[in-house]
Every structure is written in C-alpha cells, then in structure tokens.
C-alpha cells in the first residue's frame, strides 16, 4: 500500500482561535456529517492560549460538493470565533513566500478617501460611494474616480495633516517584522494614494508598495487620479509583478484584504485571506480571520513550528 501523499484532491484545514472546549468537536462534526474523512491531525495550544489545528482531509467520498463543504466549515468556524484556512494539498505543500496586504481597513484603521472627503466637506457623498464599492455594488475604478472628483480644490497642505492622523494597527509593525524575519517578501497593494501608502510602507518596512497618485495643480487637488492601481485586476497584476520579479509562483503568494476590490487577488493567489472581511469577501476567501490578533494570521499561513512539525511527517 502506498504511503499517504498530499494529492491535489486532499484538503488541508488550518483552524486557529482562542483555546476553548469544543473546537475539535465542531470542525470534525461538520466533516463527519458530510462523510469527509480526516487522514491526519496535528493540534496544539500555542502562545499559551491560541489553539492551532491542522487537518488533512479526504473529501473524495463527501456527500456534498467540496466548495459547499468549505463554506459550511467556514460558517461553523466563524460561529465559534475560529479563523480557518482551507487549501488544496498542492498549494499547502509548496509553502508561502510572498504576502501582500490591502491598506485601508486592513493595515490602517481609516479609509483614507473618507478622511480626504471630510477635509473637502464631501464626506456623506463619498462615504456612500465607498460603501457601494466595498460591497461590490459599484465598479471600483468608477467609484474611485467619482470620489476623487469630489475632492477637487482641496489644498495639498491638508494631505500632510491627514497622513499624520492615520493609525497603523498596533500589531501590524510587529507582524511585518516577524514575516520578514522568516523570509517573507511583503507588499502593500492599494487603490488608495501614495502619500499614505508610501508612508505606511516605510513605517512597517514593506518591500513593495503599489498605489495611485492624486493629481495636483497650483497647490490644490484637480479632482483627478493617476496610477496603475485602477481597475478590478490591478491588485492581482501588482502581485504578479512582484512574483515574476522574484521568480516565485502565484501558488506561493498570500493576499490579505477586506473589501470587494480585494476579491480578485484573494481568489487567484495560493492563499487568499479575508481579514475582518465584508460579506462578499467572507464568502469567497479561502481563509477568513475575524479578530485583529495578527498572531492568528501567522498561525493560519503556517508560520509556526507546528506546521513544520506536520510537513515533516507528510
């Protein structure tokens, strides 16, 4: 009999969350209900209160489609505050080397365009367009142009004030530091603007920053925007650019984001992570994190010894 191999048909589940009774029962309960077989499990409490569980699952004889099984698993995990990543065996095994983050709402608290709108006195209109775009009800590039148009006449000096007021999520600097320490290439991809993106990139030590530029004339904004981060595929293109430059495959890329404009990259890289995601992203991302504890992200993308422990035995 051949030894167990991580064939493409097998799924690797990584579940991470605050340790409490019932986690294994919940996840294995869903799998049992639909006749998916667990081939291997390694689970442990790490960092004193974080429970990490990696399962290799054979869904060959499952009674429902794989995509439906994954969605039910995601919902069950979400219900008990557990972050979950589901990958094909092939994708899991190749490991991850590049990680890119969305900016607004992911690395920083604010939506910068809304801060600009406040300064320009057009907050309500801009906020409504943002909400439409984030929930996938309006094309992102149209929404971007429409919002920037409302900023026309805003003095450039106000941009500096806004840059000073942004708050990078407290754990982000640490996280990026740790990611780089274990050899990750870190990128920021945003449809937002360079005056913030470059600053955040420098603060956290990102290797790549892709963003747009607000057009200025005579010390005020003209209401136009230029740059390559326009259109639904822009973020994915940016990732491809990084991957090509480094000679790394898309399967080894992780994309982290929260809104509809992140969907395209989230769905097309090795591991797409919805970080405190909007509903549309939650449904489609192969990994979902609903806490702002970024240690969970580290564990979810396999950057803890536990994964090495499992990989060694595959």
């Amino acid at each position: 009999m051949p030894s167990i191999t991580l064939a493409e048909s097998k799924l690797v589940l990584t579940a991470v969350g605050k340790d409490r009774p019932g986690i294994v029962a919940t996840v294995s309960g869903v799998l049992a209900r639909f006749h998916a077989n667990i081939i291997k499990t390694r689970a442990s409490t790490i960092f004193s209160n974080l429970f990490v569980m990696i399962m290799i699952v054979d869904a060959k004889h499952a009674t429902i489609k794989e995509a439906d099984l994954i969605n039910i698993l995601k919902r069950s995990c979400d219900g008990i505050g557990l972050a979950l990543a589901v990958e094909s065996g092939k994708s899991y095994k190749c490991g991850k080397q590049i990680i890119v983050f969305d900016l607004d709402g992911t690395l920083i608290e604010q939506e910068i365009i809304e801060e600009l709108a406040k300064a320009a006195g057009a907050y309500e209109e801009v906020r409504q367009i943002t909400a439409l775009a984030m929930n996938g009800k309006m094309e992102f590039h149209e929404a971007l142009k429409a919002r920037v148009r409302l900023l026309k006449g805003l003095p450039v000096s106000r941009l500096e004030e806004i840059r000073c007021s942004i708050s990078i999520l407290p754990s982000v600097v640490d996280l990026v530091h740790q990611l780089k320490e274990i050899g990750f290439i870190v990128g920021i991809v945003t449809g937002g603007f360079d005056f913030v993106a470059d600053y955040v990139g420098k603060m956290v030590g990102a290797d790549y920053v892709f963003s747009n530029k607000l057009v200025t004339f005579g010390g005020t904004l003209t209401g136009e925007v230029t740059g390559e981060m326009i259109g639904p595929e822009a973020k994915l293109k940016a990732i491809k650019k990084i991957a090509e430059e480094r000679g790394i495959g898309l399967n080894s890329c992780v994309a982290v984001g929260d809104g509809a404009n992140d969907l395209f990259m989230i769905e097309n890289v090795g591991l797409g992570v919805g970080f405190r995601p909007k509903l549309i992203v939650k449904e489609k991302a192969s990994a979902v994190i609903n806490t702002d504890d970024l240690k969970v992200l580290l564990a979810l993308i396999g950057c803890i010894d536990l994964k090495k422990d499992v990989v060694n035995r595959i």
Partner: protein, 90 residues
C-alpha cells in the same frame, strides 16, 4: 501567597479500523463534559485509525470516572481499542 494548583491531565489513546466520523464522535463526548483538548495527534496508517489526546480535566476532576466510562463504551461501539493514562501535571 497562594500558589495555583497545577493543571491535571488525562491522556487518551484509541486505535482501530478507520472510517469517517470517529474524531467527531469522540471529541463531542469530551466537549459535552466541557473538557479542553490541549494537544492532539491523529493519523491513519494502513487503514488503521490512531488518535491521541491530551485533555485538561482540572476544572472537574470528579467527572473523570464518568468520562472514562462514557469513552470506553463509545469506543467499544466504534470498534476501537482505548487506553487512558492519568497524569498529574503536563
């Protein structure tokens, strides 16, 4: 000064023919007792299911015998052999 009592643990090992649903059955019993699994290792070798669990039983050591009975019965039903090992500390 009060020293916290060290946690008490139970190690369970089960072996038997594999089929889907074994982990769900076993861990749901443990969850019903509100005991926490702190470490778990499971593998299927040549069609044989092998599971080991480290369970923190500190919060209700008195239900240990009840848990043991329940699991013994369940494993018998599932066609699994089971062994328990009680450890004071970790």
């Amino acid at each position: 000064m009060v020293f916290p009592m060290p946690d008490k643990y139970l190690v369970i090992i089960t072996v038997g023919p594999d089929r889907s649903g074994l982990i769900a059955e076993i861990t749901s019993v443990i969850a019903d007792f509100d005991f926490n699994i702190e470490d778990m290792d499971q593998v299927v070798m040549h069609g044989v299911f092998i599971l080991s669990l480290l369970i923190n039983i500190s919060h209700a050591v008195e239900s240990l015998e009840k848990l043991r009975k329940k699991l013994k019965y369940l494993c018998h039903e599932l066609g699994l052999e089971v062994a328990f090992y009680y450890t004071g500390g970790k």
